[in-house]
């Protein structure tokens, strides 16, 4: 979790808003540092992790549920499955919809019977959505899947969603454009990491654009969009205004 990013977003793990969809998008750069930020942000918010964030511990406690897409994809082909498999669409010639995948997600989010609650509110993190397109699913089918996840996670369970979509920048990739724009319109917050237009730089790794959408109350004072440049270091990311890198000043 990057404290500087929390400051830019004006949020902390213990008072994060609920029922929100955040879109992470990267273009000409690697946006996985944003995924790591939100993963540790929400695990910290669960209040059960004492020192740092330990993913293994979280997984053992049932707070973190992984769908290992790659392993499941292979299982679909080489093992007989009785009940519908989440990645059933891989076997079907006409990948109609992602209903089995959604049902897997919904099952995973159900509170465990008995015992203490696993979390205060659930968080669904998707890394990354563009993979579904390359597996042959249509953009509208993926958007429908996200719609149903949003209805269940954000509205019904008052949880949050974080989705990573790559922006290939390919003008001819219409499906990816529809997917990216479709999820953008469903999002409350968009974080877009872009490589610098002028190329690589040792001291400035990229630019981050933050766009707030769908505010519950129209806030005239708060900026709708902000742009910062950043540098990724060993254990943190530092943000600064454009042209204000410490290396330059």
């Amino acid at each position: 979790m990057f404290v500087e990013l929390n400051n830019l977003l004006n949020t902390t793990p213990d008072r994060a808003e609920q029922g929100k969809l955040t879109l992470l998008c990267d273009a000409k750069t690697d946006g996985s540092f944003l995924v790591h930020h939100f993963l540790s942000f929400y695990l910290k918010g669960m209040g059960r992790i004492d020192a740092g964030v330990n993913l293994t511990v979280a997984r053992e406690r049932g707070q973190l549920v992984f769908l290992e897409g790659l392993k499941s994809a292979v299982d679909v082909f080489f093992q007989t499955q009785e009940e519908p498999h989440p990645l059933q669409f891989l076997r079907e010639a006409n990948a109609g919809n992602l209903k089995p995948l959604f049902e897997f997600v919904r099952e995973a989010l159900k509170p465990v019977d008995g015992g203490e609650a696993r979390w205060t509110y659930p968080v669904l993190l998707v890394d990354d959505l563009s993979v579904l397109l390359s597996l042959g699913v249509g953009a509208v089918a993926v958007l429908d899947f996200i719609h149903y996840c949003r209805a269940t996670v954000c509205w019904e369970l008052k949880g949050n969603m974080v989705i990573l979509v790559h922006d290939s920048g390919d003008v001819e990739d219409e499906e990816n454009d529809i997917l990216l724009n479709g999820v953008s319109h469903q999002s409350h917050l968009i974080l877009r990491a872009e490589g610098l237009a002028t190329g690589f730089c040792r001291d400035v790794h990229g630019q981050l654009r933050i766009l707030w959408r769908r505010p519950s109350q129209p806030t005239a004072q708060r900026d709708q969009s902000l742009t910062y440049q950043y540098k990724i270091q060993d254990k943190s990311v530092s943000f600064f205004a454009k042209g204000m890198s410490p290396a330059v000043l």
Partner: protein, 268 residues
């Protein structure tokens, strides 16, 4: 501004983008219609009912009928709660109403409908709905129908957007620069229907009418510079005796006529 957007009726197309969202304008128009006493139906495909109703007070909320296509639009839960016929079925059911008052239908969003239905089907349904009140000779008077459609521009190609644009009476495109939002409004005035021709020659202080004889004389008149076949023949075959022309001049007392040619002394 909101009044002018709603005054023409028919389809009002709200085009928004990721950066400049249009749902707040849609809600403002819904609120305006409700305050005018209209019944407002919302086909909600993108946000929950709670989220849509947020910000409206109870007076307005009581006039809003929300058709929920957010929770389970594709009937994945296979329960009996699914609304039959989907969003288009709901749209047609609203229009079959017997209540003659004006009604406003908000489509949130047209983009969702366009992604899940064929463009032609959607356009035909919208045309039928927004032109419902313009059929003359219909015995049951139906009130004005306004359809507010929210369209996310980036999701569709120019073909479908153009088709919806041509159906719209009013089109609002949202944009802005440097944090300041703006709206570009395009109104299509309805074509003037041809009314009974009014005779412009009545009620004048002078007479513009022609009698039958006058009309015949006018029609047979040959204009002086009109090239006719007779004129053509006359020019091609000049008649003898008309080659030269005579000038008849009567000098008066003050004329000083010299019969000599003044150019005689020129030695050319």
């Amino acid at each position: 501004m909101l009044d002018s957007l709603l005054s023409l009726g028919g389809l009002v197309l709200l085009r928004d983008s990721v950066e400049w969202e249009g749902r707040s304008l849609l809600k403002a128009l819904v609120k305006k219609s409700a305050l005018c006493g209209e019944q407002v139906h919302i086909l909600g495909c993108e946000v929950s009912e709670e989220e849509f109703r947020e910000g409206f007070d109870s007076d307005i909320n009581n006039r809003l009928v929300y058709h929920d296509f957010f929770r389970d639009p594709l009937n994945w839960s296979k329960t009996e709660e699914a609304l039959p016929g989907g969003p288009l079925g709901a749209l047609r059911a609203i229009c079959k109403r017997t209540d003659p008052g004006p009604v406003t239908i908000a489509l949130d969003s047209l983009s969702w409908l366009l992604l899940h239905l064929p463009c032609t089907t959607l356009c035909q349904a919208l045309h039928a709905v927004s032109h419902q009140d313009s059929c003359p000779g219909d015995s049951s008077p139906v009130g004005k129908v306004s359809v507010l459609g929210l369209l996310h521009e980036e999701l569709h190609g120019p073909g479908p957007v153009g088709a919806l644009s041509s159906l719209a009476q009013t089109e609002v495109t949202l944009g802005g620069t440097k944090g300041q939002a703006s709206a570009h409004i395009l109104c299509r005035r309805p074509r003037q229907r041809p009314t009974d021709q009014v005779d412009p020659t009545t009620h004048l202080t002078f007479n513009l009418h022609l009698s039958k004889k006058e009309r015949e004389a006018r029609d047979s008149l040959i204009l002086p510079f009109q090239f006719s076949s007779e004129k053509q023949q006359a020019l091609l075959r000049p008649r003898p005796g008309q080659a030269t022309s005579h000038i008849f001049y009567e000098p008066d007392a003050y004329d000083d006529l010299d019969q000599e040619d003044p150019d005689d002394d020129l030695d050319i």
